[in-house]
């Protein structure tokens, strides 16, 4: 058995490095391997260098670096499995969270928004891009890659638009237009022209293109039937005018009915809670136009979430006061049937901010214009 000296070990390691093996792990493995072969097979008085050259020569076809290249290739192929795993996990997770979030949203349970947003983010920024990367690797056709890329982009846009709409975030309408635009002008043309040219794919291409066009057209219609800025504007000014009318009438009224004052106080508190959620202020400032404040129709926020929330309890208190008021003024009671003030406490959170504001302002108008107060002011 040949005995290898330390110098010879250094020599081999040096030679391996010089021949392009850079991974330290691989260097050490090869070094030990070569040493073993030499120790086992070389005669005690054999020519070390010559035997070494012959041994190493058997390791490769063209050059030693091949081994490292092969290792790297296998390691990146392993990434493929990791990617596929991530894709499957993120897909399942996002679908699960999204479904659960939808149920929570419909039931008005807390945590719905977080789940929906997380679900959409997982889906559009992890699952869809990963799926695209994997699919692109599988095909060599540029046209197929284009179709997949544009489809993924449209899909991401669609998911984001859904999320922005559900969350009442600004920019949802623009995202919808981007989705429709991408679908109409990028995805459908690319899909159609690559599909129609493919052998035997003609019918398939035509059918799918028709379906895609139909779906996009439906989406386009739906965006345009969503309440526009102009409709929101009308809603806001309509409420503001009732509010101004109320202030004018309250200014002319000097009645000091205790119950009426209570109703007014609670009403103001409820309105300020709604406004706080919608515009971040407890009252609409006089110069709201100059400040660029615009109130969109939306939900009333956490203060009205369930029967125990502050806003809901105020409404319950208000209902009680109205009952007392109506008992005292039986000739001209305040009608509350079929309004938001007629609903059970746990339903209050389902009304929009404008519904609550209009209901409360109207209630105050009833109070201020009650026949006995009008008589009193005469």
């Amino acid at each position: 058995m040949y005995c290898i000296t330390d110098e010879q070990v250094d020599f081999i390691l040096d030679d391996i490095r010089r021949n392009g093996i850079e991974m330290e792990d691989l260097q050490l493995n090869l070094l030990d391997h070569i040493c073993c072969i030499i120790e086992q097979n070389l005669e005690d008085d054999g020519d070390f260098e010559d035997f070494y050259r012959k041994t190493v020569r058997q390791f490769y076809k063209k050059e030693l670096r091949e081994i490292e290249a092969e290792t790297i290739q296998l390691l990146t192929f392993k990434n493929y499995y990791a990617m596929r795993k991530t894709m499957i996990v993120s897909g399942t997770l996002s679908a699960g969270i999204f479904a659960l979030g939808s149920i929570f949203k419909v039931m008005h349970w807390p945590g719905a928004a977080v789940m929906l947003v997380l679900g959409v983010i997982f889906f559009s920024f992890l699952f869809l891009p990963l799926m695209l990367l994997m699919k692109i690797k599988e095909t060599s056709l540029v046209s197929d890659k284009l179709v997949m890329s544009s489809a993924t982009l449209t899909g991401i846009c669609f998911c984001l638009a859904c999320m922005f709409t559900v969350q009442h975030w600004p920019g949802a309408t623009n995202l919808w237009y981007a989705t429709v635009g991408l679908s109409f002008f990028v995805l459908i043309p690319i899909y159609f022209f690559t599909g129609i040219r493919r052998e035997g794919g003609k019918v398939n291409a035509i059918v799918t293109t028709t379906l895609l066009t139909g779906a996009t057209a439906c989406l386009f219609l739906m965006i345009n039937t969503r309440p526009s800025y102009r409709m929101q504007e009308v809603k806001m000014y309509s409420w503001l005018q009732s509010e101004q009318l109320l202030q004018r009438m309250q200014g002319a009224n000097t009645d000091t009915d205790k119950l009426a004052a209570d109703i007014n106080r609670i009403s103001m508190q409820i309105k300020s809670l709604v406004l706080q959620n919608a515009i971040g202020m407890s009252a609409m400032p006089d110069d709201f136009e100059r400040q660029g404040i615009f109130m969109e129709e939306g939900n009333t926020g956490p203060a009205f979430k369930d029967a125990q929330s502050g806003g809901t309890r105020l409404i319950a208190e208000l209902k009680e006061k109205i009952k007392q008021y109506n008992a005292q003024h039986s000739t001209a009671p305040i009608p509350v049937a079929h309004t938001a003030l007629d609903a059970p406490d746990n339903m209050v959170g389902r009304y929009s901010n404008y519904t609550i504001l209009n209901t409360i302002t109207q209630l105050q108008l009833y109070v201020v214009s009650a026949p006995h107060t009008l008589v009193a002011t005469k």
Partner: protein, 113 residues
Amino acid sequence: MIYSTELIKGTLKTIVLKLLADNKRMYGYEITQRVKELTFDKIQISEGALYPTLHALESEGLLVTEVEYIGKRVRKYYSLSPSGKSKSKEKLSELADFIETMKLLLDLKVKTA
């Protein structure tokens, strides 16, 4: 007869996993020698195929390594991780099944030819 590298390539992972399942821990050279021995020199694993495979198996978490110093050089011993143990069983039964299928497929071809 020495089998072609194409034939060996597809089964190398399974061979390595099986050897490590039978022998607690082994190093690269030992693996090549054991295979040679067990197959009466019919299968000779090339270094160019063995080490890339060992590295890939290690990064997949199927193998764990320990290092021992032999004089100035380092010897890396490979052994199966818990997931490697179950994977080796899985791979083995897959290959056994494959061999059965190949028998069937090739026999059929011989008969119809």
